[in-house]
């Protein structure tokens, strides 16, 4: 069939078509604000971040220590059993060196997002966070890191109460 079709539909526009008014557009800015409830498990997680601690939940069914914490285990489908404090150290599971923002505008200094497997949680229980106090070229998978906390007065019960994770000496 594709061999028989000579003209395919769909008309490509260039940015000049729009700038020079050859096609008309309508612009609109959505204004939407949300206030998300943190929930039971993450609510406690945030309160503990304010205290400078990371907290997880243990499931008695599979004996996993779940991070981020949840009130039910999605595998066993039972309520989780207890709060467990985990360490604020961990291992870089993977990372990126990111030079663009969400709108693809260029960043002067790259951000270093990483998945960090946190000590004390079950193997593979990573969280998304940022790396800091490290040159991008020195970051590697398997690198040992420690959380750098905001001062107690600055903390507000948010994931950003940890500023970033920095390499542990000798890691």
């Amino acid at each position: 069939m594709t061999v028989k079709i000579k003209e395919w539909p769909g008309t490509a526009l260039s940015s000049r078509d729009i700038e020079e008014g050859r096609v008309l557009t309508v612009r609109h800015k959505l204004k939407a604000e949300y206030a998300w409830d943190a929930g039971v498990a993450i609510g406690r997680y945030l309160r503990e971040l304010k205290n400078g601690r990371l907290v997880a939940r243990r499931c008695g069914g599979c004996d996993r220590i779940l991070l981020p914490p949840r009130m039910f285990c999605e595998q066993c489908f039972v309520p989780t059993d207890e709060w467990v404090y985990v360490e604020d150290t961990g291992t870089v599971n993977t990372f990126s060196i990111c030079y663009v923002r969400w709108d693809v505008a260029r960043l002067k200094e790259p951000l270093l997002p990483a998945v960090i497997n946190v000590d004390g949680a079950s193997p593979g229980m990573g969280i998304l966070h940022l790396l800091g106090e490290v040159r991008p070229e020195d970051v590697h998978i398997g690198m040992r890191v420690r959380a750098v906390w905001k001062s107690p007065g600055e903390r507000e019960g948010a994931i950003t109460d940890i500023k970033y994770w920095k390499p542990v000496q000798g890691g």
């Binding site: 069939m1 594709t2 061999v3 028989k4 079709i5 395919w8 539909p9 769909g10 008309t11 490509a12 526009l13 078509d17 729009i18 096609v23 612009r27 609109h28 959505l30 949300y34 998300w36 943190a38 929930g39 993450i42 997680y45 945030l46 779940l66 991070l67 981020p68 999605e74 599971n93 993977t94 990372f95 990126s96 060196i97 990111c98 030079y99 663009v100 923002r101 969400w102 709108d103 693809v104 790259p110 951000l111 997002p113 990483a114 998945v115 593979g124 229980m125 990573g126 969280i127 998304l128 966070h129 940022l130 991008p136 998978i141 948010a158 994931i159 950003t160």
Partner: protein, 385 residues
Amino acid sequence: MAKVAVVGAGMTKFVRRAQETGRELSWQAAKMALDSAGLTLKDVDAVVIGSAPDAFDGVHMKGEYLADGSGAWRKPCIRNFVGGATGVFAPIQGWYHIASGQFDTVLVVCEEKMSSCHPHPQGAFITIFDHTTERPLGPNLLWIFALEMNRYMTVHGITKEEIALVAVKNKKNALDHPCAQLGEELTVEDVLNSEVLAWPVNRLDVSPASDGAAAVVMCAEHVAKRVSDKPVWVEGVGWHLDTAYWTNRDLYYPRYVEYAARMAYEMAGIKEPRKEIHIVEPYDPFDYKELHHLEGLLLCERGGAARLTADGVTQRDGDLPVCPSGGLLGVGNPIAAAGLMKVCELFWQLRGEAGKRQVPGTPRRGLAQAWGDLMQVGTVIILGR
């Protein structure tokens, strides 16, 4: 279970910004699919629409919005959205509409118009991250791909050079696709020297943002035999979802793709996929994803897809042609339409109608796969003649 066939396919050009609205694009693809099957809207019992986030178009309830262009007014209609996996899930829905015995003929239409979203459609993706534990960190969509690609490369010791070969192949294949946005003759060096977005991801490792639509007509066996002398049969379907706690999974391997593939292989009676699948259209929004998905589809051992690519096995004239269409990297990536474009490609390839893109050796069976959300949804369809 009733046998289900694809009897028609159509698509628009994939372009960075289309003059047509999403409804007009949908109509163009739907009309072409119906015409190619020699059918009219009167013959259609039900419609399936696939379209990704409403946020791209800025239109709430996009299924309803696209309904007229998709031929769905005054008909049973459902719109699905499973992220990037939507475009292959839509014909799976078409399949079960018919396999259930409820409908004889179903029109499946997928549309995406990403250009409406300003300043960049990537902004529409921010809300996929957890609003409390992730979004305050200022993430963007590239992060999850970069994190996954790095994990995949590091676990298997695969280099960026090896991965860039996929972009080179697919963009070259797309030169032969009349609807392609980014067909190009490139070298590995071009890919490696393109702007670094989020290491290890460079600009040419990534598919573009696109506008476009695609459609297929599906019908029950008794209709297919009446309207088509070359029906292409749905031999297997599979879909699977993994946890949204994406940082709690090892990203080096797409387990959910494997489970979706196993479901489809079992339905199709396929024991040795590598021997029994003749064309593959895996989802390739990023070049490493083609390799990742070939492994999840059990078409090579884990970590082995780079070797397959380097050896030329996945070229259009290779032993296992992969993305002969040009894929998302070359044809373009209007999310849901891109997945269905892969199904259109199998339809044309299996009927020997793919023109300059035709895979040699009259392939008998092909597989299309799509993937989406927080790297957690896999959808697979197997077509055969």
